[in-house]
Symmetry: C2
Subunit: 316 residues, 2 copies
């Protein structure tokens, strides 16, 4: 005869069994993004000199899905670390992403007035402060990961800092932006150049996020390199999907101006491959990305698999 306790245990086990395959991605994203937002708010306090901290917080806390920090935390957890191990690094990556948006929006670069429906940083604080807010976020990203990461060996922190820096400089964001600027008005931009731009402008920081999470979480070299390739495929896919959405969705559906690439006469995947082939390419990149996770426990890899699918099938 079953005791009451046994019945309860069985029910719990049953529910656990039911829960396992049904990974709740939306809940996961909401909870992780909430933790990240809290940590960002605590990392950059409003203190003296007020104006520069106001400017940094204005763009850093302007919302966004926090895809990069969540990728960092998910990679850390996948290899055995926990959220708190990766949180400082996850925030550092979002600071760098924010810096790149502030500087890219400047009049001397893309000259954008709006970002996520709000006036851009230089529109509110002036160009001088916007340049400095970007510089300060970039520097603080390195201070934060160096000073606030705990429970990790200094060897791994140094390695993570090297990866973080590489994802920004002339092998990362800056390289992508420079080649993008140099390609404006060129009529012969082919697939190779387009891929270079996106691998640097978009994929590099996603790669940094995942690799840094894996390093800080204690991942083996093999696992770190698997995750690096996963992130590189996801990063490129992110941009292919973005290009397709720009020509297939309305501004209302996207929540931002649609058709911007066409107006700017920018080379995109749909322009070079057509929409159908671009969609096929994105699906292939998603498969290639997920293939890199085959050596991991699928239950533990669920968040990264879901993140890849989310990026592949998003509608805005």
């Amino acid at each position: 005869m079953l005791t009451k306790e046994d019945t309860v245990k069985d029910k719990e086990e049953e529910e656990e069994e039911k829960e396992k395959p049904r990974f709740n991605f939306n809940l996961y994203m909401v909870e992780k993004a909430r933790s990240v937002n809290q940590a960002l708010n605590d990392a950059v306090l409003l203190r003296e000199p007020q104006k520069i901290h106001e400017a940094m917080r204005y763009s850093l806390l302007a919302g966004g899905k926090r895809v990069r920090p969540v990728l960092c935390i998910a990679a850390c957890e996948l290899v055995g670390g926990n959220e708190s191990t990766a949180m400082a690094a996850a925030c550092s990556i979002e600071m760098i992403h924010t810096m790149s948006l502030i500087h890219d929006d400047l009049p001397c670069m893309d000259n954008d007035d709006l970002r996520r429906g709000k006036p851009t940083n230089h529109k509110v604080f002036g160009e001088d402060i916007a340049v400095l807010a970007g510089d300060a976020l970039l520097a603080f990203a390195f201070e934060h990961i160096a000073v606030s990461t705990s429970g990790v060996s200094p060897e791994r922190i140094v390695a993570a800092i090297g990866e973080l820096a590489k994802s920004v400089g002339t092998e990362g964001l800056v390289a992508g932006q420079v080649v993008d600027i140099n390609s404006e008005g060129l009529s012969d931009v082919g697939l190779e150049r387009l891929e270079f731009i996106h691998l640097h402008k978009t994929a590099a920081l996603l790669e940094g996020a995942v690799v840094i999470g894996a390093i800080l979480g204690g991942g083996s070299n093999e696992h770190v390199e698997n995750l690096r390739m996963f992130a590189r495929y996801v990063g490129l896919m992110f941009q292919v999907v973005d290009d397709v959405l720009d020509v297939t969705k309305s501004s209302k559906e996207l929540g931002k101006t649609a058709g911007k690439d066409l107006v700017a006469d920018k080379v995109t995947y749909p322009k070079l491959l057509g929409i159908e082939k671009s969609n096929e390419f994105a699906q292939k990149l998603n498969r290639d990305a997920q293939q890199q996770l085959s050596g991991f426990d699928p239950v533990k890899a669920a968040p990264l698999i879901a993140l890849a699918n989310y990026i592949a099938y998003r509608q805005n």
Copy 2:
């Protein structure tokens, strides 16, 4: 009776005795600056994407006395390290100094067309590339210290990276520049605010240079803190002397436009204290700085003592 060998030895000892107090500062500076220039040239190679590396090298290799990297190396050697231990960090500090010059010269900041007699970075490469060259130098500074420092424990490298980042952000260069910008046109800028600006705009990176050198060289906490105070006094003195030279020397003597502060109606030490009291203040800061070195072997401390005197008594 003395053998020939003894005579030679005596002569050598005599010459050593003679040499000891006569530390050849000019030779020291020339040799260290040459090593630093070589290391900077090797650190940022001209590679793809060409244009951004050209822009970075244009400003990084434009000359200058390399005071910050030499301070870093001298502090490292003082606590028992050697030149090669500190070289990557010394180069990182010069990269950050160069980044701050490129961004400060931008039209939205100080709008300068000339720097060390050459057109400023944005005049040659355009504003967009100048912003990105600064960003890339800032990021690369952290990559370089993290990846290329050898023979030092990772704990000390992480600590040095924390110090480097702090010297740039809202407790360093950026704070000084922001408060300087906010003080333009104010009639009530007093000594306290002036000191805040200079401690951040000028002293912070000098402090970073010395402290990082001492950390990487294996200095004790006490020695690191003595050297921190030394550098802070020297940094403030650097600026007081600069202010005095601006009003007492001709453009020809300075090798740059004299009287700039007067024209810009900037608050300076001579304006608040008069020239004589400013000179006295600089002398006091030099004494206070050197007082911090009293716990070190004076022969080993000779380079830092000479550097402080050089900054105090320079004529341009």
